[in-house]
Symmetry: C2
Subunit: 187 residues, 2 copies
DNA sequence: CAACGTGGCGCCAGTCACTGACATGACCCG
DNA sequence: CGGGTCATGTCAGTGACTGGCGCCACGTTG
């Protein structure tokens, strides 16, 4: 038995994703996940705060990546340009993990409870982006609004990209941020 | 006993709000809510799908109001102008209900689980807005993006208004949509 | 090497959200 | 007045989640 629980943790994530695909989230019990991972149900809850969290691991890394990407965007850019730049960068990780992210997305999309959790995570990440913008001297109110708006564009791009992965995420990002400009230009 | 359960339903909502204020959401059981409302716990779940839903009633009305407000905005406006107009209108109901909405907001703000649910509701309402925009011949992708962006501005305005109700919601809405324009103009 | 601390885990009992099934009594309609 | 419908009460059950305890594998220290 490994000293650190990282092994069990990974097995739990794997088992959960498999079971959610096979039977759906609602028809899967935490006991079954634990059993497939070869651990006790109690151990499941030592690794993940609740049944949903098993699909949302690594959030801290994401937060850090986002904050860093925003912080390290070139000087002199306007808020949306900063965000486009940052999302291009963090999006690479997404493109690299597509084979893992895809079934995960499918399960989340099929389960209202998981969608709800995803929205909460996204809101939290948008807050990180807003804070990172403030660090770059974007005024308080504008930072929050830019972060949420930019995040909406980002999700739109990811959505378009999953439907049409051929073009690459960057192209869809450019498209989405262009739409943003269109909206404000005409309205 | 009244033929329709509307009476019990209202008592349940009242009892829930009170208890959530007194003890907090997590330290309140559905049995306690039902007891204070003078009904059986089972009846609680006949009226509300889960423990959180008791604070999110009337969503259907809101959806209808939003859709109508967007549909009835003057002709010839650009997407953001339509939304500003629609939010001005639906916002009046909010201003009228402030004494009820305020404690509700406080409870939600203090409870992560309720915030999560609120985000889900908001996402759903933004979808309604997007669909209403499409009905007005706004192109598909732009409609979704405009709805989400406009919704972010709306929330920002409501937030600012709760902190400073003196100015009226309309002023804050104007401010938020102006910020939106600023963002795109400079970026 | 031996004693010790620590951390991951199994186990058990308990609470609480939520559900399905059936019974009952109030109401409305013919 | 008889029958149907609807809100509710009652009860048993499932499953998510928690606290507490003890165990054992490991690393550390003397």
């Amino acid at each position: 038995m490994p000293r650190s629980g990282l092994e069990a943790r990974r097995r739990l994530q794997q088992a959960a994703l498999e079971l959610f695909q096979e039977r759906g989230f609602d028809r899967t019990t935490t006991a079954e996940i634990a059993a497939r991972a070869g651990v006790n149900e109690r151990t499941y809850f030592r690794h993940f705060a609740d049944k949903r969290e098993v699909l949302f691991d690594g959030e801290d890394d994401l937060r850090a990546s986002l904050a860093q990407a925003v912080a390290e965007a070139p000087e002199g850019l306007q808020p949306f340009e900063i965000l486009l730049c940052a999302f291009r960068r963090t999006g690479r990780a997404l493109e690299a993990n597509r084979s893992f992210a895809e079934p995960r997305f499918a399960v989340i999309a099929a389960t209202p409870a998981l969608r709800e959790r995803e929205l909460a995570k996204h809101a939290s990440l948008a807050d990180v982006v807003a804070e990172a913008l403030r660090q770059r001297a974007v005024p308080d109110r504008l930072a929050a609004l830019a972060a949420q708006t930019g995040w909406a564009a980002y999700r739109q791009a990811v959505q378009a990209w999953t439907n049409d992965p051929g073009q690459g995420l960057d192209a869809h990002l450019a498209q989405a941020f262009d739409d943003l400009r269109t909206l404000s230009a005409t309205g």
